[in-house]
């Protein structure tokens, strides 16, 4: 048995006026959480939509658990769960009705649907909101319904397109641990985000994507290590300059050097530093 859950080869997507994907390739291992990190318009949603079968690529190949996505469209769809960037729940229907319809779309039996609904409502802390209409829920609760809807049919591959966009920090953390939980239960996850902390905290591996091209793939740890362990931020009059160091001693030396005339701070290196380096390179 292969260890690869999803293999994407040379994916190209052209719209009439823009090339959204310029031939990207990556592999996701089973049970891995793989993040696509990139700025607005980088092509993250396009990638997700192609994998979910919502739009066709101009060219390229995709294999899901070794089988071609396009030779097995119905089977592939039954293996995938998608949480879109845009909340696409039925606003007039209740939480339970939304989940029920999803279950039927994925051809689950009524008894299994009932069981899954109560499990997932429990998991997402939504038991009391079962009969609320979606339009009556707050943004954070809607997101949670959106995520558990995608889990109804126990997908082997979960696609999360910016699952925490627009949520407050507290709710975001809740959703993070929720996602970790899902992964711990054996689900392979492809996540897109432009929140660095999110990718750093959740992802086993991260791909940096810029205007339709993947520039680097690595674990967050290794991305960080390439720069060093410590960062010194120096607030110059016109910009913020950051220096990176392997050793704390060297970092402190630099700190002292600048501290007379400038605001300075010493901190650990984050994924954001690594990302910004790539942004500079790709400008």
């Amino acid at each position: 048995m292969s260890k690869i859950a999803l293999k994407v080869e040379n994916l190209v997507k052209k719209y009439s006026s823009v090339v959204a994907l310029k031939g990207i390739s990556f592999e996701i291992k089973k049970k891995e959480l793989f993040a696509l990190l990139g700025p607005n318009g980088a092509g993250k949603t396009t990638t997700i939509r192609i994998i979910a079968g919502l739009t066709n690529p101009t060219s390229g190949k995709i294999y899901l658990f070794g089988k071609s996505l396009y030779d097995n469209p119905i089977w592939s769809k039954s293996q995938i769960g998608i949480v879109p960037q845009h909340i696409n729940l039925d606003m007039e229907l209740t939480v339970e009705e939304n989940l029920l319809i999803h279950g039927l779309l994925y051809k689950l039996s009524l008894s299994l649907i009932k069981k899954r609904i109560s499990e997932l409502l429990e998991l997402a802390d939504l038991k009391e909101r079962k009969n609320s209409k979606i339009k009556e829920l707050s943004g954070g609760l809607k997101r949670r319904v959106l995520i558990i809807r995608a889990l109804m049919h126990k997908p082997k591959l979960l696609l999360l397109d910016e699952p925490t966009v627009g949520l407050d920090p507290h709710i975001r953390r809740k959703i993070w641990s929720f996602i970790k939980n899902i992964q711990a239960n054996g689900t392979t996850i492809l996540l897109t985000t432009h929140y660095m902390e999110e990718a750093e905290y959740l992802a086993d591996r991260v791909a940096f994507i810029f205007s339709g091209e993947i520039k680097a793939i690595n674990t967050p740890k290794d991305f960080i290590k390439q720069l060093g362990n410590y960062a010194v931020d120096v607030y110059l009059s016109d910009k913020l300059k950051t220096f990176y160091f392997k050793e704390k001693k060297e970092a402190e030396k630099e700190l002292l050097k600048y501290s007379k005339n400038h605001f300075v701070s010493l901190r650990r290196v984050t994924l954001e530093d690594a990302f910004l380096k790539y942004v500079e390179k790709n400008l």
């Binding site: 919502l54 998608i82 696409n88 319809i101």
Partner: protein
Amino acid sequence: MKGFFATYLREFLLLKKRFIRVLISFSINPLLYIFAFGIGLGKNITIGGKSYLEFLIPGLISATSMMQAFAINVEINIARFYLKIFEEFQSSPISHFSYALGEVLSGVTRAFLATFIILVISFLAGVKFYLNFYFFLTVFLNAFVFASLGLASAMLIKSHADQALVTNFIITPMMFLGGTFFPTENLPFFIKPVIEALPLTITSHTLRSIALYNSFKYSSLFILLVIAIISFMIALYSIKGAKN
């Protein structure tokens, strides 16, 4: 195949939530027509020996079942362009056939609801006519045709605004010319054959013939069936094109 139930149930639940409003809006039109044309205008007018009201009711049922079946396009448009629920269907493992069947049957359901309302109103208004299985089969086929076309049009258009155009240019003229409110005999010779071949015209003639004389032609039903199958195939084909 099982998947069709999901799309059908969704539309059914939405209809159920607005049941009272739907009931009222479905009743207002026929009430207006019956009152204005049937009672206000037509007391003394007879067509082929029948009162205008008797003539009108089968036509009204044809037109209304067409309109209500076609009107699923509104719901589908909202699902596609506003709620983006259509993506839920596209990413789920159901066939285009199941999806289309669920939507079309929801249109048929709406049409039957509207039909029953008219039947009740006419009964209360004291209009007498024949009803049999073939009457309802004709309504079914008519609704099936126009629900399929409603679905197809919702898939083919690029935005919600285009939809009004389709309705104004195709459905509304048909509603008036399709043998619904006046007989097609008086139409000018150059458009008469076109009008008589329209599914709505076949429906109103068949329904009227059953309602007033308890007779109909099997060939009409067969033609409607063929048109229904073709319309459904057009709908299926247009779903494929809705991917971008």
